[in-house]
Amino acid sequence: MVDLRFTPRLIARIAQALIVITLAAAEATAAVPLGPEGAQHLLTRAGFAPSPAEVLAFAPLTQTQAVDRLLAGVRTTASAPPPQWIGDPVIGPREFRSLPEESQKAERQRNVRRSLDLRRWWLEEMVGTPSPLTERMTLFWHNRFVSAQPKVRWPQLMYRQNVLLRQNAVGNFRVLLHAIARDPAMIVYLDSATNRRGRPNENFAREVMELFVLGRGHYTEQDIKEAARAFTGFSLDPDTLAFVYRPGIHDDGTKSVLGVRGPLDGDRVLDALLEEPAAAEFIVGKLWLEFVSPRPDPVRVAVIATRFRSSGYDIRTALRGVLMQPELVAAGEDDLLVKSPVELLVGLVRQGDGRLPNATGAAVAVAAMGQNLFSAPNVRGWPGGEAWINTQSLLVRKQSIERALARPEAAAREARAMLPSADAPPAGNPKQLLEAAQVMAAEVDPAAMLKSYRLQPERPLAADDIQRLAGGLLVVAPVSQPVPGTLAYDALRALLLDPAYQLK
């Protein structure tokens, strides 16, 4: 007689078998061609909403092939040239204080203009890049390793951090973590330079554990205190704001952080964080929320996290694991995600082969939707998910879509005159400016969009045409399906303003 007691060993074996079966099932689906709907879904999830041409290119591929292609196309640098002013010297706080009032004012205004220009630059990159996944991963890290204006006053610093994030976006997490701890924008944002022996400032130590790498419950207040001591020495040149290590202010006494004891410095503490299993789980969990579903599956996350850790924190390994999940190709209602403001606007433009007539205006528009690039509201970043949608933001989102489709020429002229550019500051009061930005945020040509579905704006649509159009624009059935006989232009407008368009 077979003895079938549920020993821990047996339970472990069963669990292992279940995981293998789950993965096998996922892999089986992954071996089938995506088709237009699968391609549309995967490209929306892994990038910004795709143009019909992109969908056509990916439809015959399997999920495995598609993910391989997306990962192969990842860039480490932006495709567009950088803003003109990035090489201009930084005016550090010491020099700034010595300037006369007039020059201080001019410098402040210059920083404001450049900060807007920085946002313009990034949005244009998102619209124009051949690798949307690169920008999505840069955005992901931007929301993980948060540094924000206005505390970081110098746009050059924010630009350089953005470059750093993109460089390592699908690189190595250990490398990225060590680099971000020394990044001048981060040092300014979390007061690292004022942290010194005998006078510790816990800000960076706390946030690196709570928000960046481990998550709550995996460290103690004492760990934070000791880690703060270890991070002393990370500092900046007061004039150039370049990173400088100051051994003179480093606390080289014995510390104990997460069970590691010794005269630890900042780098040793960062490595101690990476020795915790919680680190890989935390990051993969966040990737899951970004790409897969609002509800991380602990079993699948654990599998990917183990691979991530064993790979030596190769981000590509984690990303591949996440992008291969079945939800990337077809998601039930419970697994739908909300498009971030940037995804919504950039997606609309890419999907419609449109443009940003005034990318600065687009930056103001997404800020009005709740995502002011380079200015997350606090160090936790944008919570994302359903938090993107509240009564205020939803109205701005819808209005931006409406305006992108049909913009009265007079309003456009007025708006163009008001919006800021690299040379001219904005005109008009904040309310008018906001209005102008939303008028000019994005532009798609409805006729061209319909043409790619072989439809003409003034013709009434039959049921299957409506189905085809809805299937091309949305990842889930519209809440308010246009009825047969609706004119194509009206159907397009209705579908883009449907709640379903806000989701991916």
Partner: protein, 384 residues
């Protein structure tokens, strides 16, 4: 319109308006609560200052304020000088000072601590609903209003998390103009789609009910808080919403605290005075209660950057005609700090909520707070 329909619609209109007639009608609207969230953790020790306590100066060689920097409400009650605009309110007994406000097992994380305040949970439990969501669930009068609450100056739902009808907006006029873009739907849905449809429905309802914006002769400060307060005044005077939350950010003063806090407290002081002025104009000040709150106070000992790290117990303020003016709670002792060097609280914030729920709104506090808390008697329940 025939006479009967006219009377019906007038009754519906009146149901969410307050006034002396309120006492006579069973359908009285809930009285107004305006919350001022001091986001980041305001430093209470430099707000209500124990200027005569030698330990204060020992703990803060650089940051300690001198008596000449302060405004004296009473011989041993000194406020940060920026709060001088409140002195007249103190003198007319429209102001309560709530000392040592906190909760057991303080959490020093911004996000966790504000979650504790917003959900009125114990430090060790995670609760998914905001305290005002639970209040609204059991308040028929809230259901008659355009929304359970309005959020100004922030995007998160805070005390309205988990199902309350909360409207986020920045400008009432623009909101009502744009509300035509929303659609009502009764389609069954799950997850993110369900959330979206709920928000659309809320927009439609609020868009029709949050009516015209009055003009005030009160001047509002030209600051972001001043603008938010102007919207709060418009919403408050309409009495179509029972709660408004205004958020003022920037209080996380890990460095350069003196200048930053002085500026923020001045904005707060002027904002509250302006709001009171406008609501007096609109004739609704008698039925209004203002309360400040914050995720935590800050550490007594200053850090090495001219600032302070995260702390615990804090001072908060309440304003209104129905306030029993005075000081409540005990000052947290500077010689009995906890293991992290932080103040021990002497007043649980849930006692303040209990007073608002029971004494201000006449509702069952223990249900909304999931437990019994002795209300701090700073509200004159006689007016309820």
């Amino acid at each position: 319109m025939n006479r009967r329909r006219f009377l019906q619609s007038a009754a519906v209109g009146a149901a969410c308006f307050s006034g002396w007639a309120r006492a006579a009608t069973r359908d009285a609207p809930p009285r107004l609560l305006v919350l001022f969230e001091l986001r980041g953790g305001n430093d209470g020790l430099n707000t209500l200052v124990p200027v005569h306590d030698g330990r204060y100066r020992d703990l803060r060689p650089r940051l300690a304020l001198a008596e000449s920097d302060l405004v004296a409400l009473a011989p041993n009650l000194h406020l940060h000088g920026s709060l001088a605009p409140w002195l007249p309110l103190w003198n007319t007994s429209e102001m309560a000072v709530l000392q040592g406000v906190g909760y057991p097992q303080s959490d020093l994380s911004h996000f966790r601590s504000i979650e504790i305040w917003d959900t009125a949970s114990a430090s060790s439990e995670i609760v998914q609903t905001g305290w005002l969501t639970r209040v609204a669930e059991n308040a028929a009068a809230f259901r008659r209003c355009a929304a359970d609450g309005v959020i100004l100056g922030a995007a998160d739902l805070g005390p309205f998390t988990g199902g309350a009808r909360a409207i986020a907006l920045s400008d009432v006029r623009r909101f009502t103009a744009m509300a035509r873009l929303a659609l009502t739907s009764t389609a069954p849905a799950q997850g993110a789609l369900a959330h979206l449809l709920r928000v659309e429905n809320e927009i439609v309802r609020a868009g029709t009910e949050l009516g015209p914006v009055p003009a005030f002769s009160t001047e509002f400060p030209r600051t972001p808080l001043g603008q938010a307060v102007q919207q709060a005044a418009a919403l408050g005077s309409s009495r179509r919403v029972p709660v408004i939350r205004v958020t003022l950010s920037g209080f996380d003063t890990h460095q350069n605290q003196l200048g930053v806090q002085a500026n923020l407290l001045r904005q707060l002081a002027e904002g509250i005075v302006a709001l009171r002025g406008a609501l007096v104009e609109a004739g609704v000040w008698d039925d209004t209660l203002l309360l400040t709150y914050s995720e935590f106070g800050r550490r007594p000992r200053e850090n090495g950057s001219g600032g302070t790290d995260h702390g615990t117990a804090n001072v908060h303020f309440a304003f209104g005609r129905s306030i029993r003016g005075g000081v409540y709670g005990e000052p947290p002792p500077l010689d009995r700090l906890d293991a992290n060097g932080n103040l021990q609280h002497t007043l649980d914030f849930r006692s303040i909520y209990a007073a608002i729920i029971a004494d201000w709104w006449g509702l069952d506090a223990s249900r909304a707070l999931r437990g019994r808390f002795n209300p701090v008697r700073f509200i004159d329940a006689r007016h309820a």
